[in-house]
Amino acid sequence: MIGRDGLTALVEVLRARGYTVVGPTVQDGAIVLRELESAAQLPYGWGVDLEAGQYRLRPRTDGAAFANAAGPQSWKTFLHPARVRQWTAERVDGELVIEADDTPPPRFAFLGVRSCDLRAVAVQDRVLTAGPHPDPTYRGRRSGAFLVAVECTEPGGTCFCASMGTGPAAGPGYDLVMTELVDDAGHRFWIRGGSPEGTDVLAELPGEPASEALRTAAVHAVASAAGRMGRTMPDTDLHRLMAETLDAPRWDDVASRCLTCGNCTMVCPTCFCTTTEDVTDLTGNHAERWRVWDVCFNLDFSYLPGGPVRASPRSRYRQWLTHKLGTWYDQFGSSGCVGCGRCVVWCPVAIDITEEAAALHDWTRRAEDGAS
């Protein structure tokens, strides 16, 4: 068990070990992820009110640092960045010299990885490194990363990890895991190691063994969070649901509301799609290839000779939802959704993945009733 001073020490120890510590902090009206110089930058005393299409900070009197839910970014911003230079080419004496970009990857320590996000990192691990052609940028950033997970005790109105089986208790994959408790006995964190390096770091922190009472209270706080999720996914085989509803009228309904702005995909911690941009300079002697985030709501995304394959908003929204909840299983053996609720919050027109899935589910049930 550590106190607030233990958290301060944790950031110091990680920085001393050469890590770039990234964690939550308040900026521009939201709890964003940023490099932290000290634990004093953590969002002590800030909670959030989350609704579809709406995010508001709310002061808390208890001074808790982690009694809030997923913010606008996810760890994808650091592991699979929005823009990466892949190679440069120079024309030297008429010869083309191509050089891969081998900027050494930063060594990140992520402080405050939520259970859903821990799962999202595991999903991206599978997508980006498990195949025959692992992505060097992701692998470089991921392999050296130190993960400090935080279990959720205060789920948001848009959270539904409990119904996706991805939280609020942390699954495997962390180096350290914490559960925050603020009560009459004070502000404390029950902290456990999950890897040899995690245990090493833990040994350097000022703290004391956690009492049985503290452990029980922490387990209880996390278990009770499971019952306070603001959203739930329909309890059905989503993979099958997606395959069976490709012609549902609901897709037209959601397309009439969707702006195809792509915000949902970009905030989603598992969406991984990119495109390449080749740039040249005015002399024509220098060229660079950049990889940038791209998403299936972009018309260029499915552009083939003759035009975009998915031109209608209906087909683009359907691609997003069926990939997340359906075809992801065929491709990567799991759901592409971990229930973080980001796509619900950051959709400017409040389109809600759980509501859309529920509407599709209702439609199949009505179709069944009609048939019987």
Binding site: C258, L259, T260
Partner: protein, 280 residues
Amino acid sequence: MDTDARPALAVWKFASCDGCQLTLLDCEDELLPLAGPVRIAHFLEMSTAEDSAEPATLAGTGPYDLSLVEGSVTTAEDVLRIHRIRRISRRLVTIGACATAGGVQALRNFADVEEFRAAVYASPEYIATLDTSTPIAAHVPVDFELRGCPIDRGQLLEVITAFLAGRKPNVSAQSVCFQCKRRGTTCITVARGIPCLGPVTHAGCGALCPAYGRGCYGCFGPVPHPNLEAMVRQLRHDGMSERDILRVFRTFNAASPEYAPVPGLIAEETTHPAAEEGPR
């Protein structure tokens, strides 16, 4: 280097404020590198000489490999001149909202030009003007349209570089939201309830306004096939009045055909009490 072998660049002005041409002059660090591989043959804002020799005329001499055209067509002379420029240019690229959508001066398209003429000018009989302000592409074929009011410096250089290299410019038609998210800005609509046109606006500015806490007001014009019905509903939800919604679409790209349904949508929303709340 044999000067004659370099591609010739021309920059033209029609009805406009000169801001987009200034963007080119503002490329200070790149202007000299540009003047190496390119012959800047006609650019009145920079030099009164044609090909740094004889005095330049409004019509130019030609031929030019790449013509950048700023401004919209608002007079009978403009119509003749743009046809001539097209004839003497191998590639023609329009720069900015005026050349690409008619500009803010296209507000006349929604009003009576006679009334303007009488109200604004002391001697209206001296003013010869068309009833409309139209984009260049309404008159001649255009090879590429660069959006923005004004255009973005980086995008302009990209377009010139791409044409020099004979490749397609990296200018995507995605929405401002894409750039906003890539930049790491927290969405001001969601976090602060500020109305923002980003979801229906063509990217290009790098999502500048939201990064400074103000809503996008659409200076790069519409994305292809914008869902204006949903956008108008959202702007109302974020507190914009009917008048303000109409006004925010009636700026630099007022005459964009994509915006044509806006007045009808506003009227519809007002006449349907059920739409007041809207499906949220």
